[in-house]
Assembly symmetry: C2
């Protein structure tokens, strides 16, 4: 989507939500609308305000020079001395006669809301969660490139890094450094879990040394702010019977979810009213694992990805999201057995007219090393 | 502070705020109370609930195993299927007869507040911003170690990395990789600015190659979750007269702020009622720079640091924070001249009985390279 299309999307939202302006606070929504990605994701450093006729960016002197150069289509409103963000916003609310102001309810903090409430009586909570869920072809290309980097680092780790005595932490470091050298970076802290540690879905890579059995690698790269995410579980040495069985079922569970979606995509061309519910894809994989006698997946089946590693759509039992063309998401079933180990297989897919296309290309059949 | 002391601090808060329970959502507050640092800082993955007699941690299956092992003094409440976080919280509100519930107002999102409001009529917004501002001696030691890593990487960059043709981005990468190899990591994306780029206080390191003039390096390391932060501005080649003048004034501005605080620390031993206001330290440096004929500093003079790079106390014109023994904060004046360049000198200090002690040890006098 071009910048102007994204802005038009917001202008349409003004009408739908019946507000005179929308205050955008999420740093990822700000990057989406401005292509500027240098604000902190952990602190409040900027807001955007979009009205029918104008768009503004609020920030402080640290970013003034950069914003002037890199975000010329938003008018810069500088917080400086007495002219705090709140004072500046109040002036614009008056100037544009904003009676009802929409706020980014999934991002704005309670304390910020309280302050803004003192200058604008009518605040409307708007869920902007889905504005980034359908990707433009340019965005998909960036995610594909990030996936390719993820594939490369996976191959590098398997071929050159895994060896007797290496620790989880060291492997996690190697993943980061490999991507750094390529001018990329990790999209999240890699999860490296050896042996029984793989039974903790979000294991914190530690000092455990490589041993016979499970090697779970969950990693992602960034390319021009877009993220990838992939999990592979391989075996150091030969997998035993139980390990092989778990692997097979997880892989089949992923295939169940993919066919569930694909068959609906094919049917939907005949009947446009057929909605493809994210929770039904989740159900297909989840029930298969339960039917095979294992515990339910202790996490969602999958999640959208883009500027954030986890964003809409969410493939979970409670999700109300509808899967649509242009969405990019993970499908990542897992079976985890405490004190034994676990298997997760995660790939990214893009929803296309004819079905899902896999973006992570690394082999996901059972790999035994040594 | 030991874990039990931190919990007692919260129990005291229950009385002061007149609430029956406090729901803690900030991932840094969670790390502070549990010493567990593996939850994402960008997504909601856990909450804590502290009441007079109990403490709970809410999370999902991805973290269940880890939380059981690593946070044994909090009872694990698992979100699973129908038992969502909200349902679980509702049950505990009933069980403990919580009439008034405090929430972490600087962290909780508007949409979360709305949901929690449906199960607890009386929510009280609590500002937990200052609970981590006074550091225990153990925490100060960790920050000191992080500062030492920052000093080491600065020396390494100056001695081994800066050379003709290298880009800002490459230097930023080298900073990251150096720390990785030491088992540490960056506490924030390093700012590397060459030449006129140094006039942008939060410049995004790019493809500019090293040239004669300003080299601004703003970097920090992490040690056991605690952060450091330091800025040095050095010169590639000889500094000219104007550059030298700016450097001198920035350095003197830092000294003004330090003596402002130190002289008050000395006086306060005679008169315990004397409060040391963070905004007065800011004023001392800021007014000195203006008096010398330059623009006011386009950012705060400094900030507290600990689990987060920026936390209370804030040394800014509007700050109401009071500086106290045990606080660790930066003092970082700067002068920035668009299209010419800028100088910032940032050091971390700990507030001790006898005055400020500098934790970042790198030389901060004018350094000319080559």
């Amino acid at each position: 989507m071009k910048s102007s299309q994204k802005i038009n999307h917001f202008k349409k939202l003004l009408g739908e939500e019946k507000v005179d302006g929308i205050l955008i606070s999420s740093v990822f929504n700000i990057t989406h609308l401005t292509s500027y990605a240098n604000f902190s994701s952990e602190e409040r450093e900027a807001y955007l305000l979009i009205t029918e006729k104008s768009r503004y960016i609020f920030t402080d002197g640290r970013y003034a020079e950069a914003v002037k150069k890199q975000i010329p289509d938003f008018e810069l409103i500088l917080s400086k001395g007495e002219n705090t963000f709140l004072k500046n916003l109040e002036a614009l609310i008056k100037k544009h006669n904003i009676k009802s102001l929409g706020v980014d309810e999934n991002d704005l903090r309670v304390s910020e809301h309280k302050k803004i409430k003192t200058i604008s009586k009518s605040l409307k909570h708007i869920d902007l969660g889905e504005i980034r869920s359908i990707k433009a072809s340019g965005e998909i290309k960036l995610i594909e490139t990030a996936c390719k980097l993820g594939d490369e680092v996976f191959t590098y780790i398997i071929r050159n890094v895994l060896k007797k005595g290496i620790t989880e932490k060291e492997v996690a470091s190697e993943i980061e450094m490999f991507l750094k050298k390529r001018g990329s970076e990790i999209s999240f802290k890699p999860i490296v879990a050896f042996g029984a540690n793989s039974s903790v879905p979000h294991h914190e890579s530690g000092n455990k040394k490589l041993e016979k059995g499970f090697v779970l690698l969950d990693l992602g790269a960034k390319f021009e702010n877009y993220c990838s995410d992939m999990t592979r579980t391989v075996f150091w040495g030969k997998a035993d019977k139980k390990q092989k069985k778990i692997y097979k079922i997880v892989k089949e569970a992923q295939e169940k979810a993919v066919s569930e979606i694909n068959s609906k995509i094919l049917r939907s061309t005949q009947n446009d009213n057929k909605k493809i519910l994210a929770n039904e894809a989740d159900k297909a994989a989840r029930e298969y694992i339960i039917k095979e006698g294992f515990e339910t997946i202790p996490h969602s089946l999958g999640h959208g990805i883009g500027l954030e590693v986890h964003e809409h759509p969410f493939l979970s039992p409670k999700s109300k999201d509808i899967l649509k063309e242009g969405m990019v998401f993970s499908i990542e079933p897992g079976i985890y057995i405490p004190d034994f180990g676990g298997v997760r297989i995660e790939d990214l897919f893009v929803f296309e007219k004819t079905g899902l296309r896999r973006l992570t290309k690394s082999d996901n059949s059972l790999i035994e090393l040594r």
